[in-house]
Symmetry: C2
Subunit: 483 residues, 2 copies
């Protein structure tokens, strides 16, 4: 049996339809509910098909951040200057090699209005700034730096502005976000079918996607999409075979951010009708050794005892560099003055000693390698400088107070958290693009079924951010279809 | 117009065929001619469709190496021990993260017989070993180390054996190889159609690929493939749009190894009928600063003045690490005793001085960074050791004889040569695999239209090697089809 015949059915082979809607949405996470809300708002009959028994997807268990900027209501209320151009400059520099300028431009231009729309749906945000780094795990503050905006080289490219927008709750931020959106969808009359797993897309002779075949407890159902079908079915971090062939490095990350339905089914459906899956090697790879933030006074080391990054960047950037450029074999050296227990995950101490020489020997590093690294670092750190990797002065101090400890940050001993960033190629209207670049008529995608704004170089909130943003774009555009 | 309708046509929409053959081969490089020869040997009527005006593709202008081993006739004649297991161990370690074990197993098991087959086709190999590193540009020697077999860590994983098999000619080795194979195909009665560009594949309702639609000077032709259609149409190094969305780092390489027809058309045809394109970010990235080999006594430096690799590895591994892990900003520091002009490409001197301190300052590196790197290196090199990166003792000596020079090996100033390694997912019979892993009936691929044995971690000869090897597998398997 062919791998394709499961996923694509010719319209001529569909005798009749069992159900239909203007817009059919596959998957009911954040991208799916935003798609549904917007298509419904445009007057569409909307049907969401969800494999699980209820709504939420990975989003409902997520951190709940939305990466928004350009001068959102919350940014302005807290006195932070930002602009479309400034946000665009950061994202183009941060979001991996050659990110999609058109996607990022649309995302930045629409970000203020998008956050207003989220507010309208009833999601609450506290007008307070979280001064810690990156993740307000233990606060309900509304705004936070959730990327590397304040760190080199980005602080030289764009004016730093916090863009992580977190719903007002200490725990379960993702649930708060999603429950508000789902409630809005219920109120708006969005139809849903749970326990409904899409097996195939139905394609007409001209390439147009016109529906789906779904497996349900009542048997197979043929569901027509009159105006558009939107794939918002998550990524593939839970598909080991797909990871092997596309993104094997991500398999080394112990903690998968996702649900079991992040098995790549949405991507494969899109491929089967002529879509392209791009940047499939990319992922968010976080190394959450912080907080406590004082650990940033330490230095990240390769197994050769060399530094490889400014330690004040977003821990997703540290994780990316550690896994992708240092083969996941890295350490953090910190002195007694700045040592603290990581708050979120247990650690292993790889070495400890009263002198750097002792630590070097205990790590099995060649004599002089680590000692020289620390000597050069300390000489400049004493002056508040880091000419090699440009860590900010706030986190610079000589590593001088014994005892010295080394936290093992290798993939073998520490928790790396990962989800996939690769997926279907879309345009700013969330239309799935075929091999020639032209959209496949009738087919849309958003969220981690797509390669979105972050092509590597992730900042927290970009996944719910682009999923919700381009989901809405899909819902709107599908409703403009004349079919 | 949809991007897909150009590439895939339903069989029901093909009223009649203009031509047909048992096996239709798309592209006439090394993979194509080997496919054709083998299908013809099995009694098939074989038709090769080639866009260009003549045969050869990229292969005819290539270095002509075949990566063969396991105890080939040439290896044995020259007294080199090798085995299937040994070759397999090297390739599994060298060929990137999580290479395809089944492909590599088949490739290694069949390698001795494959080289015998190449000999039978009349390709001459001189029974001599090239003692220089990697590329006998100026000799006609038959056997050479064309990878990193003798270098760390591979020399600890498998017994080093040279596996680069080079046709006996000083220049135009690729032409010698290809002309012999093409002559054999002509003699065997392989049919060819030049100036014939395949626009679409024809797919039956059950997913089977049954033919192609091609553009010719005489208009569009519908060509039936009774037993199989084989895509051997090259990679995508000449398609800037595909590089942007799949492999943007490769765009930084100044020299593209390929022809203009390496525009990804074969990959896109496979995608359009349900194939998957995997490891699309990968590429061979060579940094051909050697020969002269004495430059290996130098040390490769990051822009922080740190070493990042053992300098005695294959220059494809140096290029890969430089581009992918050091953002293409690297240098080579060498002392006067070991300096020599690179033979193949011009260089720029980034700095020179009577002391390392001078060089460090001229490079704008922080005081102490490079000095410490050199101090640690020299201390161990004097004893023939490199505990940090494990360069072999043959290339270890203190960097001590002034003046010291630094060659700029950044992508901006030096030549990086690149071709793509990502492509269609195939099984060991060269069948194109669909999303579920099952083969798409009737469809095969080989060479750089596929992701082959090297998923990153290239050694010279692996591309002609797997193209020819899996091309033959495709030709044989297609002829077993009962259709």
């Amino acid at each position: 049996m062919s791998g394709t015949e499961l996923l694509r059915v010719d319209e001529r082979d569909v005798a009749a339809w069992d159900d239909q809607a203007d817009v059919v949405v596959v998957g009911y996470g954040c991208a799916g509910v935003c798609t549904a809300l917007e298509a419904r708002a445009a007057g569409g009959d909307v049907l969401v098909l969800e494999r699980s028994g209820g709504p939420g997807g990975t989003s409902i268990n997520s951190g709940g951040f939305l990466y928004c900027g350009g001068g959102t209501a919350l940014q302005r209320a807290l006195g932070y200057d930002d602009s479309v151009e400034n946000m665009y400059a950061y994202m183009m520099a941060a979001c991996g090699p050659e990110p999609d300028a058109a996607l990022i431009q649309a995302y930045c231009e629409g970000s203020v209005a998008h956050f207003d729309w989220i507010l309208e749906k009833g999601v609450p945000y506290k007008e307070s700034f979280f001064a810690g780094a990156h993740e307000p795990f233990h606060s309900d503050d509304g705004l936070v730096y959730s990327g590397s905006e304040f760190a080199w080289p980005f602080n030289e490219i764009a004016t730093p502005a916090p863009r992580g927008h977190a719903p007002q709750t200490i725990q379960d931020k993702g649930a708060l976000l999603m429950n508000k959106l789902i409630a809005a969808a219920v109120a708006a009359g969005v139809r849903t079918a749970f326990g409904t797993r899409v097996e195939s897309l139905v394609q007409a002779g001209d390439g147009r996607v016109v529906g789906a075949i779904a497996h349900t407890v009542e048997g197979r159902k043929r569901i027509r999409a009159r105006k558009g079908l939107v794939l918002t079915a998550g990524g593939f971090i839970y598909n080991e075979d797909m990871l092997s062939r596309y993104a094997p490095l991500l398999k080394q990350c112990r903690y998968k951010v996702g649900t079991e339905t992040d098995d790549g089914s949405g991507i494969r459906l899109g491929l089967a009708v002529g879509g392209e899956a791009i940047r499939m090697e990319t992922g968010d790879i976080s190394l959450p050794v912080f907080p406590p933030n004082d650990l940033r006074f330490g230095i990240c080391l390769s197994e050769q005892g060399q530094r490889f990054i400014n330690e004040d960047v977003y821990f997703g950037r540290i994780g990316e560099y550690a896994l992708m450029h240092q083969a996941g074999r890295v350490f953090l050296l910190v002195d007694d003055e700045h040592f603290g227990r990581p708050e979120n995950f247990p650690i292993e101490i790889a070495a400890a000693g009263e002198t750097v020489e002792e630590v070097e020997a205990e790590l099995g590093m060649p004599r002089g390698a680590l000692v020289n690294t620390v000597a050069v670092y300390n000489e400049y750190a004493a002056r508040g400088e880091d000419p090699l990797f440009h860590k900010g002065a706030d986190w610079l101090a000589p590593i001088a107070t014994p005892p010295f400890g080394v936290i093992d940050l290798s993939t073998e001993s520490f928790v790396y958290t990962a989800f996939t960033l690769g997926g279907l190629w879309i345009d700013p209207q969330a239309r799935v693009r075929g091999g020639g670049g032209d959209p496949i008529p009738g087919l849309y995608a958003a969220g981690r079924t797509t390669s979105g704004v972050a092509k590597q170089g992730y900042s927290s909130g970009m996944s719910l951010g682009d999923g919700s943003f381009f989901g809405r774009a899909a819902g709107r555009h599908a409703m403009t279809s004349r079919t």
